[in-house]
Structures are given as structure tokens and as C-alpha cells.
């Protein structure tokens, strides 16, 4: 198929990645009449390709290229990880934009405050919630209460929590925006087979295509961004499905490959002018990698729950999201549900023998909580690259260096105890928790925003401090992780960034 835009067309904005950040910034720009070429490393699935089989879907959509170190749970497909995500969309709280001012300087962390506030982002949160169809916002009803949410809510009440909700999911409770209402299929993490869960795959991308200002190129793995003698980005080199290299010229470049690929691409584009990677005069590129403190807890309840019936994550408790230093750690966490298939249940319970088998024998009676908590940034948590090993594109194999901070261990102990209390209040037994369960789906921080160019890679717009026409449009720009699942904030920032790009273009500054 012929390209809509010529490779030599240097008037286009090139967006790298089609997930939450890339898909959103593409669609926003295209709706403003700005021509966009979106390069996506994966291929494009139809809804009919999505089946209720986690193993099969894994091979269809996961990012399987070789990586070392901490595993991630990401996708290489049109829509990126919005095909796999749970749909949980809480906002950041005000203090989470000011972690340094609020928590003080924790040992061995690199915390700074965001260069933006909740007030500034709030209008974009509104827009993001509307685009995504978040339950409980914009006149959208709450999500239906699943069996597992009812357990969470009953336990919350028993132990005195006050703020629990089945809102804040970007899964249509009722038909909206061309997508149907949720059928409680389960298998959200294998992709939503009916498109009730928001994903750029069937939301932003087709909307952008309808504008006539957008071209999606699939199986286009970007390997390098080129610049001219003035240091301005001029084009993006990608390998097509046959491995042949092409250069798409560009007016501006938005990088949204999720943290590992965003880091690798900017590093791999090093030249004598940018010896440590594009936009890395601060030395922060690839550092301050955050994943959230995550925790899974399971229990055998006294009656049937059948948590496989319905959405994987169907509600949340907000009471622990606040910063209450008397708990012995900085920041807070959200308590969510997390229904699992049998295999993931066995993996989460861990171990082997009678105890593990007993858990699975009681599969119908299981309930689970999952926690997403603030993860302080550390310089040593970073993406590095293997010195000699190369992948199929000839790119250095990434190494994900990640260790939990002591603050996260303290938070884990608190969260594990709380979930135990909650589940035991309803006579749940054999409560078991694991730290890090499900880790690697939330990835943030390797090109963080900063007011001072020495502290981060990008400015308040996600624009490179060093290079005016280079933007980072994914969770890499996060300054702190907050407690919230990151996608809503990624989308809000991408909408805001698109406004900024359009404005700069109209002023002929880009």
C-alpha cells in the first residue's frame, strides 16, 4: 500500500508509538488539521483477532523482543498496552505533583516536584475522561458492581474504609462513542473482544484516520532519529516488516514507545552533537525509572465469588491514597480488585504442593486485591543497554535495572496487612500476599519533566529541554508515579501536549 505521505514530506509530525500517549497525541493533532504519520512497531489487530485466551493473545500482541532484568508486561501492537490494560483511571492527587515538597527528601531518591500542578492538568483530565468514557464522569453511570467488587466493598465497610467506588473505569457501562457496553466477559488483559474497554486501537486511531490528516504505518520499528547541523530533528529512520530501512522526514517528532523503547531510541540516536543520547544534557535519560509498588493478595472466601465473571479490575478503595506519614512511609496507595485466571492464580499464590493445590481447588471462592502505590524515583532504577548483545534490528538489548525502595517495602507491609484484615473481616482464609505481583505494567519516569533543565529531560510540555522539535508523549515524562494507574494521566498530558504543539506551530515556532 502506498504511503499517504511521501517519505520526503517534512511537513508532517512523526509520532512514534500508537498506545495511550502516541495514539492520543496523533488523534489530537490530526483533529487540529496537523498532518501526522504514526509509526507503530507492531501490527494491527481487528476485534475478531481478540480471543479469550491469554496464552494465544500473548503471542499476538506482547512485546517479545529480548530484554534483560525486570520484566515488563507491554504490547507491540497497534494500540500498544491500551489493548491489554485494565481500564482503571484514577487521577493524580494534588500533592502527588509535589512529592519533594510534600514528602521531603527521602534517602537515595531523586525526587523533584512536577513543573505542573493538578489545577493545570484538571481541564485535561476532564477531556481525557470524556475521550476515554470513564465511568462516573461526564454523565456516564458507575460500572456495574461485580461479585468481586461487592467483596471489596463489603470488606471495606467492615474495616472502616469510607471511599470505595465502582467508578473510574474506562470501560463503557453502557454503549457510548461507537463502542458497546461491557458484557462482563472477563479477559480484559487479553484485549476486549467487543471493544467496550477504551483502547486507541479502536478509538483514537480510527478517529484520527477519519480526519484525513493521519497515516498509520504498522510494522514500522523506529531505530533512529536524525538531526541537522543546528540540532533540529529532521527525520525518523524505521525498519519495515522486511527489515528495510526508510527515513520519514519530519517537522517535529513525538516519542511514545513506553519507557524502554523511548529510552533506547533516544540513546541509539546519539551523535557527536548529542553524545549521550538525544536531549540528555541532564544525564537523566533512562533514569528515575518507576513501576509502582504493587502487591497482590488472594484469599479463599466462605462462599462462591466466581471472580472470573466480569472485568478484571472492577473497583477501588481510595482511603489509603493520601500521604499520612504516621503510617511509616511516604505517599499512598490504591486498593483495587484483580480477578485472575487459574494459571495466574497459581503463579500469584506461588509455591507448590498441597497449599497451592488447595487454593486452586477453591478457585470459585477466591477473591483478590491488588495495590498500586507511589514508587519513589531512584537514579539507580534505570534502563541500560547490553554492551555487545543486539536484537533483530541490530539495536542493543535493553536491561531493566529495578529495585524497590525501602519506602516501598514499608508500604507493602502496610498494604498487605490491610488487605489481610479486609479479606479476613469477611471470613476469608489462607490470605497470601506477594510484593511486585503484576509489576511491569506501569512504567514511568525515564525522561521526566523538570522546571530546571539540569533535573530532567523534558519541560512542562514534555518537550525536550535541549531540542525544540522533540517531544516525549508517553509515561516517560512522569516526575513521580503517584499511586494512580498511569494511563489517564498519560492521555491527559498527551492532549495538553498536542494543544501546545499546535500553538507553537501556529506561531511558526516549530
Amino acid at each position: 500500500m502506498a504511503n499517504r505521505y511521501e517519505l520526503s514530506d517534512s511537513s508532517v509530525v512523526v509520532v512514534i508509538g500508537s498506545g495511550a500517549g502516541g495514539g492520543t497525541v496523533s488523534n489530537e493533532l490530526a483533529h487540529k488539521g496537523i498532518d501526522v504519520v504514526c509509526l507503530e512497531a507492531g501490527s494491527r489487530m481487528q476485534l475478531s483477532d481478540i480471543v479469550n485466551n491469554p496464552g494465544a493473545m500473548h503471542f499476538k500482541m506482547s512485546w517479545l523482543d529480548k530484554r534483560l532484568g525486570a520484566p515488563t508486561w507491554l504490547c507491540k501492537t497497534v494500540g500498544g498496552t491500551t489493548v491489554r490494560w485494565s481500564g482503571i483511571t484514577p487521577r493524580f492527587q494534588e500533592h502527588e505533583f509535589q512529592p519533594l515538597s510534600t514528602y521531603g527528601k527521602l534517602d537515595d531518591t531523586t525526587a523533584i516536584d512536577w513543573p505542573i500542578t493538578l489545577d493545570e492538568l484538571a481541564p485535561y483530565y476532564d477531556k481525557a475522561e470524556d475521550r476515554m468514557g470513564v465511568s462516573g464522569t461526564h454523565g456516564i453511570p458507575p460500572s456495574a458492581e461485580t461479585n468481586e467488587y461487592k467483596v471489596l466493598k463489603a470488606g471495606a465497610k467492615k474495616i472502616g474504609y469510607k471511599e470505595y467506588t465502582s467508578t473510574r473505569a474506562a470501560i463503557n457501562p453502557v454503549a457510548r462513542d461507537g463502542r458497546p457496553g461491557c458484557r462482563q466477559i472477563g479477559f480484559c488483559w487479553s484485549g476486549c473482544a467487543i471493544g467496550a474497554k477504551w483502547s486507541t486501537l479502536y478509538s483514537e486511531i480510527p478517529k484520527a484516520e477519519a480526519t484525513d490528516h493521519f497515516e498509520l504505518r504498522t510494522n514500522a520499528m523506529v531505530v533512529k532519529i536524525n538531526h541537522d547541523d543546528s540540532g533540529k530533528m529532521t527525520g525518523v529512520v524505521y525498519a519495515d516488516a522486511n527489515g528495510d530501512l526508510h527515513e520519514q522526514k519530519a517537522r517535529a517528532v513525538c516519542v511514545a514507545g513506553n519507557v524502554v523503547e523511548t529510552t533506547r531510541l533516544l540513546q541509539n540516536s546519539s551523535t557527536s552533537m548529542f553524545p549521550d543520547g538525544l536531549g540528555n544534557s541532564s544525564g537523566h535519560l533512562g533514569r528515575n525509572y518507576m513501576r509502582h509498588m504493587t502487591k497482590s493478595t488472594l484469599a479463599i472466601m466462605p462462599g462462591a465469588v466466581n471472580f472470573h465473571r466480569g472485568t478484571r479490575q472492577s473497583g477501588l478503595i481510595l482511603d489509603e491514597q493520601y500521604h499520612k506519614p504516621e503510617r511509616g512511609f511516604a505517599g499512598g496507595y490504591l486498593i483495587e480488585t484483580a480477578a485472575m485466571e487459574p494459571l495466574m492464580t497459581a503463579q500469584t499464590v506461588g509455591g507448590w504442593g498441597e497449599r497451592t493445590a488447595d487454593y486452586l481447588e477453591n478457585y470459585t471462592n477466591l477473591a483478590a486485591t491488588w495495590v498500586s502505590g507511589e514508587d519513589p524515583p531512584q537514579a539507580s532504577n534505570r534502563i541500560t543497554f547490553h554492551e555487545t548483545e543486539r536484537d533483530q534490528y541490530g539495536l542493543p538489548v535493553p536491561i531493566l535495572n529495578y529495585e524497590f525502595h525501602p519506602n516501598s517495602h514499608a508500604m507493602y507491609e502496610h498494604a498487605a496487612m490491610g488487605s489481610k484484615k479486609l479479606l479476613e473481616s469477611l471470613d476469608g482464609r489462607n490470605v497470601t500476599s506477594v510484593m511486585g505481583g503484576g509489576g511491569g505494567c506501569h512504567n514511568m519516569g525515564v525522561a521526566r519533566m523538570s522546571a530546571d533543565p539540569r533535573d530532567g529531560v523534558t519541560n512542562r510540555w514534555g518537550q525536550s529541554h535541549d531540542i525544540a522539535n522533540l517531544f516525549v508523549s508517553d509515561g516517560s515524562v512522569f516526575v513521580s508515579s503517584g499511586a494512580a494507574n498511569p494511563t489517564l494521566t498519560i492521555v491527559a498530558l498527551a492532549i495538553r501536549q498536542a494543544d501546545h504543539i499546535a500553538e507553537r506551530m501556529s506561531r511558526k515556532e516549530l
Binding site: 479469550n52 503471542f59 458484557r183 466477559i185 462462599g303 494459571l343 486452586l360 511486585g436 511491569g440
Partner: protein, 171 residues
């Protein structure tokens, strides 16, 4: 081992199993792909089948299901020297712990021998492979009343997604 190390270790184990889930998650479709292991004269299948049952002991599951899981692993190992090596290492280690004949030892002794090697790489590899195949097996799903795919039935929206009936009235 201090608290931090324990937690870190659990994180790493969780991380490995989450990715392991994914790299071996197609268990069902791999089952009974072939019987090539039989032709390759792998003499360890009885021991490994026994090991699979002790890993995930379910009285309601017949031996042939565990054997099928091991068949599938052995068949994959036919073209995977490192896996073959780990399977052999496991049986050798278990036998060494039980005077050369782990298979004939009592159940308690068999389990004790497994506990003694559970931190070895070969053990983790076998566990991950057994787990992925076993807990995706239709007979196991039947036993634990997990129905699998629901989209063909229109999901659970009209089939009990909110039918929980034992929660306390005041909750």
C-alpha cells in the same frame, strides 16, 4: 535473610512467574503436539509425571493428565538441549537424595527430596512449565469449575457476574 531480601526475592520470583506465564502460556495448544519424546527414549517420564502430581496434587485429576503435561514438556525438550538438561538434572538430583530410587520412595520422602532442590534453576524451570500446562488443561478447569472463554456466550452479564449471595446484610 532479612526482610528486604525476602521481599526482593519474592518480587523476583513473582516477576519471573509473570513472564513465565506469558512465555509458556500457550500450554493448551501445545498439549499432545507429538509423541516424539517416546521415540527419543527419554526414560524419565515416570519420575517427571510423579513430580508433576506432587507439585500440584489434585485428587480429582487422573494420572494421565499429569502424564500428558509431561509429554508436552518432553516433546518441547526434544529440540531444546537446555530443557532436556534440566529435566535430567532434576531426576538425577531426586534420585541422589533417595538412594538412587526416588520413584520408589514414600510420598513424604519424595516431597522432602523435592523441597531440598526447590531453589535450583532446573526446579523453577520445570515448575513453570508444568504450571502453565496443568492449569490451562481442560480437565483441571473442569475440576475447579473454571469455564474459560465467555465471549461466545455473550460474557457473564446475564450469567451471574453479580450473583454473590453470602455477603453480610449490612455490608
Amino acid at each position: 535473610m532479612n526482610q528486604g531480601e525476602t521481599s526482593r526475592r519474592r518480587f523476583l520470583v513473582a516477576a519471573i512467574t509473570y513472564s513465565g506465564l506469558l512465555s509458556t502460556g500457550a500450554g493448551v495448544t501445545l498439549l499432545r503436539a507429538s509423541n516424539t519424546w517416546a521415540d527419543s527414549s527419554n526414560g524419565n517420564s515416570d519420575e517427571l509425571t510423579r513430580m508433576a502430581r506432587l507439585l500440584y496434587p489434585h485428587d480429582g485429576i487422573a494420572d494421565n493428565v499429569y502424564a500428558e503435561v509431561i509429554d508436552s514438556i518432553l516433546s518441547g525438550a526434544a529440540t531444546d538441549a537446555s530443557m532436556t538438561n534440566m529435566l535430567n538434572q532434576a531426576v538425577t538430583a531426586l534420585n541422589a537424595a533417595q538412594n538412587g530410587d526416588w520413584f520408589e520412595a514414600s510420598e513424604n520422602d519424595q516431597i522432602a527430596a523435592m523441597r531440598a532442590v526447590e531453589h535450583e534453576a532446573f526446579f523453577a524451570a520445570i515448575l513453570g512449565n508444568v504450571q502453565a500446562r496443568f492449569y490451562n488443561h481442560p480437565k483441571v478447569w473442569e475440576l475447579i469449575k473454571y469455564p474459560g472463554s465467555s465471549v461466545q456466550f455473550g460474557g457473564h452479564v446475564d450469567r451471574g457476574f453479580d450473583d454473590i449471595d453470602w455477603l453480610p446484610e449490612d455490608a
